[in-house]
């Protein structure tokens, strides 16, 4: 791909995560208006609205871009809506960036919002024997945490990671989230408390698995020219790279919602896994590498998965993830802080909003506004995330 021209982030906005029981549109409006205010713009300045869809809120969720455009007041603004599971937010941002870089617009609003049910995510209803997501529940009772647990147990067998290593990730993130006004869980926990919580999917315990949450996040992104004219650019954080990669065949790591991996009989397996490839595409666009990164926001769907991400995004070699958490490298004040926002551990997951929330945190950090959780001198940040059915998601932001 090579390097790609950046776009500016002029505004960020969020609705606090929680279980508020309201319509997702209400959350999205709060986030959108906060992002517009932060940018010093109004809805009438927006030339393109990009919605990240939710599949659990009926038709308005399937066409989220139009739903938010109507809620803000129809004004003819061009629209797109997209769904890429957990990666939807990054995809919506990529759509907005493409419009800007193509010269089709200068100012875009990106919004993701969700209202979630209680408990495990379940597949869409009906009797759908041609849908692997439905079938994995029906035939195996394989919930999302079951897949996270397979990865965790694999780490224990391959690298000697321990229950305490995984628990330390939760402890770190719970500490990070204390000062985040948008986080749902703001309570410090100890290793002992984590290990005393009930096992959900061995070896993962209740406090190590991310909850499902309501929440919303929005961004105002613009061309560099617009940002320069509007605000003098000097302060604007830039989106320097976005990855929306799919896997490469053969994908040899079992992934939700599949029953099997690809068969690798035609290939020598040695290349990077799908998760390994995700951030690198964003690094390449930004012209940077993991050694340049000051902080990372990664998708800690489980405590153990955060350790996988350390390796996947190049913060350390395969098998060394646990050493980073043991040495305190990934806490704020450490060598490379990870999830200074508190991560999914403190937020729970609001699917279409989550990848955008990662960007909001990175922008807050690079602006130096992360009171109580600031990573000193942060100039480059990377997010990483993976959506069901092969959606990579990674965003690099720079000062």
């Amino acid at each position: 791909m090579g390097r790609v021209e950046p776009v500016a982030v002029l505004g960020i906005g969020m609705h606090p995560w929680g279980k508020w029981g309201k319509n997702f549109v209400e959350y999205g409006l709060v986030a959108a208006n906060a992002a517009l205010k932060d940018a010093g713009l109004t809805w009438s300045d927006i030339e393109f609205i990009s919605g990240a869809d939710t599949i659990r809120n009926g038709y308005p969720g399937f066409i989220a871009g139009a739903t938010f455009a109507q809620a803000l007041g129809w004004n003819g603004t061009r629209v797109s809506s997209c769904y890429a599971a957990c990666a939807s937010g990054a995809q919506a941002l990529a759509n907005a960036r493409a419009q800007i870089l193509a010269g089709l617009c200068d100012v875009a609003l990106v919004i993701g919002a969700d209202t979630t049910p209680k408990g495990f995510f379940a597949p869409v209803g009906g009797d759908r024997k041609d849908d692997p997501d439905w079938l994995r529940f029906h035939l195996m009772g394989a919930t999302n945490p079951a897949y996270f647990a397979l990865y965790a147990r694999r780490r224990m067998a391959l690298y000697g990671d321990t229950h305490a290593d995984f628990a330390m990730v939760k402890v770190k993130n719970s500490r990070h989230g204390l000062a985040n006004e948008f986080a749902r869980y703001r309570k410090e926990v100890s290793v002992e408390e984590v290990l005393a919580s009930p096992v959900v999917a061995d070896p993962l315990r209740l406090l190590e698995i991310c909850a499902t949450s309501d929440g919303a996040a929005a961004l105002v992104v613009t061309s560099l020219d617009f940002a320069r004219k509007h605000s003098g650019l000097s302060g604007a954080v830039k989106v320097a790279g976005i990855s929306t990669v799919t896997p490469s065949f053969p994908n040899t790591v079992i992934e939700m919602p599949n029953f099997s991996t690809d068969s690798a009989v035609t290939h020598e397996i040695s290349g990077p896994t799908f998760r390994d490839s995700i951030a690198w595409a964003a690094y390449e666009e930004a012209g940077i590498g993991p050694q340049d990164v000051d902080l990372a926001e990664v998708y800690d769907l489980s405590s153990a998965l955060e350790l996988d991400w350390y390796e996947n995004i190049g913060l350390c070699k395969p098998g060394e993830g646990a050493r980073l958490i043991r040495d305190g490298d990934t806490q704020i004040g450490g060598k490379i802080p990870v999830n200074p926002s508190g991560g999914l551990s403190c937020f729970g997951e609001a699917i279409p909003a989550q990848a955008l929330a990662q960007v909001c945190e990175m922008v807050t950090q690079l602006r130096g506004n992360a009171t109580g959780r600031q990573v000193d001198g942060a100039k480059v940040a990377v997010s990483a995330n993976q959506g069901l059915f092969g959606h990579g998601s990674s965003v690099v932001v720079t000062k």
């Binding site: 692997p132 994995r136 009772g141 397979l150 147990r153 959900v200 079992i254 009989v265 035609t266």
Partner: protein, 158 residues
């Protein structure tokens, strides 16, 4: 394995065409590309997923019925529908199994009575067919993976 009540019921596969439930010789039913030899489970019959191959021709194959555990876990909480849980819910183990010939990993539940303490990465397992759930008339069969020659530690063996 089946209690008397179950024998009176009609045993049917929980999903048509995914496995051969024959008690003496059970197997997962997949396909194999006639051009590049890539295996598929569940069956692929339309277009080869190997991007360097554009075959539309597939042989029906029985997958290896033995493999080794790639990783494993369990369900301590009742999964939501469409999983059909017994009452009371009984936790079960899940395994991801590496098949050597097919160079792929296939998931499934562990055989009834086997819990995570009975399993380890690299352990040999074999395919078995057991009852997944029942309704008034039928018992629905599913493939499961059973540790090869291992003894189960569980207190809740059938």
């Amino acid at each position: 394995m089946l209690c008397l009540m179950e024998i009176a019921k009609n045993a049917v596969v929980a999903i048509e065409g995914w496995f051969d439930p024959s008690p003496s010789n059970p197997a997962l039913l997949g396909t194999q590309c006639t051009e590049c030899s890539t295996f598929y489970f569940p069956r692929e019959e339309l277009f080869c997923k190997n991007p360097r191959c554009s075959s539309t021709s597939f042989d029906q194959v029985r997958l290896s019925s033995r493999g080794t555990i790639w990783s494993f876990t369990d369900a301590q909480y009742q999964p939501p529908p469409p999983y059909v849980s017994g009452d009371p819910f009984e936790p079960f183990a899940l395994v991801a199994v590496e098949l050597e010939r097919e160079k792929m990993v296939v998931m499934g539940q562990a055989a009834h009575g086997y819990q995570v303490d009975d399993l380890s990465v690299g352990m040999a397992v074999e395919l078995v067919v057991e009852t997944l759930y029942e309704d008034e008339n039928n018992s629905y069969l599913i493939w499961r993976w059973k540790p090869d020659g291992a003894s189960k530690t569980s207190k809740q063996a059938p």
